[in-house]
Symmetry: C2
């Protein structure tokens, strides 16, 4: 393939040789010809950092040496692009920084690093004239980062609603479609390799908070910390919740939600206030509110959510992911695909490598700078206003429903509908499902505390927020 006048190959150093790393190596080898045609030169894998060089691999490493010494990649002047696929913050973040300081471009799939340190790393890359690409950090093979940075650039993004954890979506789909309860659905996901033996990060919504932090930071040109995302997992849901939800016209999804609420001055124009990172506004935060203006606030939360049956997100099942974005110009757009797996993730990593290669060919870096608009205040969950679904077991005797309605009423919460079907004669209990009109979270939490203290309430089983997509 190589012609005498062809430019020299682009040399890759790979950090991490797990499932995705192996997929990338296989892909770079299998599609070497197509990739060379696309970028007009070849890509060679110069070195791979592994933890255990003795471990047997599904295939030999082509054209690459295996090393356990990160410096042999990070400090090698022959390497043009460092592809970081180790995962976790330590030591990946420091390796990424060192690669940048050594003027290497970086392609990473690391959600932990980009969610917690993304703005700083993009800033460092800008200072050193190199590119950092991270399309594979969210949504596997679904184009998202490039879409926010380029395609939606003219939009003010109002809302993001995302199913960005395939493990929990698989479990919820099984519970909804087949009446399986949480425990067996989780066990099944584990046996299929969709859930890890310690499923906490997925099931408790932690993974989703990192991905939402990345998406919200991009959408609102800010830095949202994963720790700032309100979070509830799916472990409390029961098969009964899915039956009731269906009856009421809903499905239950673990949604990652980000919304921007305009300050008092009106709809806002975030771009107009944003400042390139190099102008030092990064630590300045949002402009201080004056008498006439209040800063925009953002709302970021991950929790099981009742979603109307007839919207597209409701039809996203199994391990698939989908991100629904509402912008002021495009209106509603949705991006759907496999959020994980060696092949989809490798597809995103290699697309990033190819884009970096185009930049190297053109002699440019930071062609599209990330503009940071300052830190935006996070609206506390207490101030959320939404409709609620509450399932509880109460004493099966006259006057109890009235007593419960009274508690909600005392907290300014109005009941929209109520279902009572199941009874447990031995325990003299009845199952009650209540849907509220829009109410404030603080009032709902206060109501639930009051209810819990009532002798007639046997169990507060489930509380779910309802997303209207109005």
């Amino acid at each position: 393939m190589t012609r005498l006048d062809a430019p020299p190959p682009i040399r890759i150093g790979l950090l991490g040789f797990g499932v995705v790393g192996g997929g990338v190596v296989r892909l770079l080898s299998q599609k070497a010809g197509a990739i060379a045609t696309e970028i007009g030169r070849s890509i060679v894998l110069r070195r791979v950092l592994v933890r255990d060089p003795g471990r047997s691999r599904p295939f030999d490493l082509p054209e690459g040496d295996v090393t356990t010494d990160a410096g042999a990649i990070l400090d090698d002047p022959e390497i043009d692009v460092v592809v970081e696929l180790m995962g976790g913050v330590t030591p990946a973040a420091e390796y990424i920084r060192r690669a940048i300081r050594n003027r290497k471009h970086v392609v990473t799939a690391n959600k932990d690093v980009m969610a917690t340190q993304g703005v700083d790393i993009l800033q460092l890359a800008r200072e050193h004239g190199v590119d950092v690409y991270y399309e594979a950090s969210v949504g596997g093979g679904i184009p998202l980062i490039g879409v926010f940075r380029q395609d939606l650039v003219a939009n003010e993004v109002h809302q993001v609603h995302a199913i960005i954890n395939g493990t929990t979506n698989y479990i919820l789909s099984r519970m909804a479609g087949d009446g399986v309860d949480f425990g067996p659905a989780l066990a099944e996901a584990q046996s299929l390799g969709y859930a890890e033996s310690d499923p906490t990060a997925d099931v408790e919504g932690i993974d989703a908070t990192y991905k939402l932090a990345i998406l919200a930071s991009l959408a609102f040109r800010t830095q949202v910390s994963p720790a700032a995302v309100y979070r509830e997992g799916i472990a409390r849901l029961r098969a009964a919740d899915f039956r009731y939800a269906r009856e009421l016209g809903y499905v239950i999804k673990l949604l990652a939600i980000a919304k921007r609420h305009p300050g008092a001055r009106g709809a806002g124009a975030p771009g107009a206030r944003s400042t390139p990172l190099t102008q030092g506004a990064r630590d300045g935060g949002a402009p201080p509110p004056t008498d006439e203006t209040a800063a925009d606030e953002i709302e970021v939360r991950v929790h099981p959510t009742l979603v109307p049956q007839d919207i597209l997100l409701a039809g996203v099942n199994g391990v698939f992911n989908a991100v629904h974005v509402r912008g002021d110009l495009v209106g509603d757009v949705l991006f759907y695909g496999r959020g994980a797996g060696a092949e989809p993730t490798s597809s995103a990593v290699v697309a990033d490598i190819v884009d970096v290669a185009h930049n190297i060919n053109a002699g440019v870096a930071n062609r599209i700078p990330f503009h940071y608009a300052g830190r935006l205040p996070i609206r506390p969950i207490d101030r959320l206003e939404t409709r609620y679904y509450v399932r509880l077991w109460v004493a099966d005797r006259p006057g109890v429903l009235g007593q419960i309605a009274q508690v909600f009423g005392d907290h300014q919460i109005s009941i929209a509908s109520c279902i009572q079907k199941e009874t447990d004669p031995s325990a003299e209990s009845a199952e009650l499902v209540i849907i509220t009109h829009p109410a404030r979270e603080a009032d709902m939490q206060a109501s639930l505390s009051t209810l819990e203290a009532l002798g007639t309430v046997r169990e507060l089983s489930t509380m779910c927020r309802i997303e209207a997509f109005a």
Copy 2:
């Protein structure tokens, strides 16, 4: 906003000032600050080509002169980017070429030009060192062109299934959801401004063939002519078809379908054979088949299609569009949003303008060259193999069903299921709906001809292909 050391503004010449043109002008004005922040310099509208300068506009043109002389834009050395929003091939294609020859970048929403002359225009742009962007030519505000050119670049695309005409999707959604017949649904679409007074281009699927030609050309790195796309419109569908489809577990959509069929040598590696345009392979076509290899073929068709109820495309309703892509690495991905309208389309046009501005800032053009893999043979519709839905009225007497089954059997078509419900006693007719197992189009057409000649067949009402999404 302007600082003394700021680079000079980027100057736009706009061709066409209709709905989308007006939207772009409004957007460039309303978001001037945000756009200037994004690209580090301002964008000014220098001149607008209009047909009738006397016509009243919803707003004044800011910083721009109105002209009826295209040369005042195309030949103005002060203009950096020509934004072509006239539509139609003549004179738009010639204007685009003249702009390129005068070394202006071009942003266009023109599906007619890009579908019929896209490869040549991209080639001309490459020769003259300028960029041509055309995201708005397909799917309004849905990111598609950039997605194919960048995000999916590592994939071999196997299939595209698209709902890319909002007018027909609105009509079909009304027919499906509310039992409205074609005529009233069309009239309603017209009264809402979703359909033109002459709806032919939408209703007959012509618009969709142009958009499919663009998508298939990108997906397969070739040039598919809209004329090569097999096409049927939606005017023959009746409310009854939607009732039967629902009963059978399907919805009816006007799908634009593109598939790549590997030649005898196997799955193929199109990229490996692709050649940059400048290497003169453009007119060479596909490599000649040898004894061992046969060229890949592509299948491109637009027609009403029965789609399983439970897939995501089936839930795309109203004027929304969606494009479902299957690639060898990403598997299934889907992109959804508004396919038309001033704001979504302006969003795409302005995103393209911003991207061109980034290129101007970086001093690059053709950063991502379009690699043409040669002309691929189109598989004739006769060789299609799929399942079919056939609705027909037959004489209501014994033996007729057997006679019809016999005709299909004589043509190697096996019937999977049959519904007979409606009868018209006055005409002694019965309505019959037949679903076949996979069969060849040529055999189906021959069967229909034979059936039509039978005295017992009163009317061949509808024939629809079924897409399995296996």
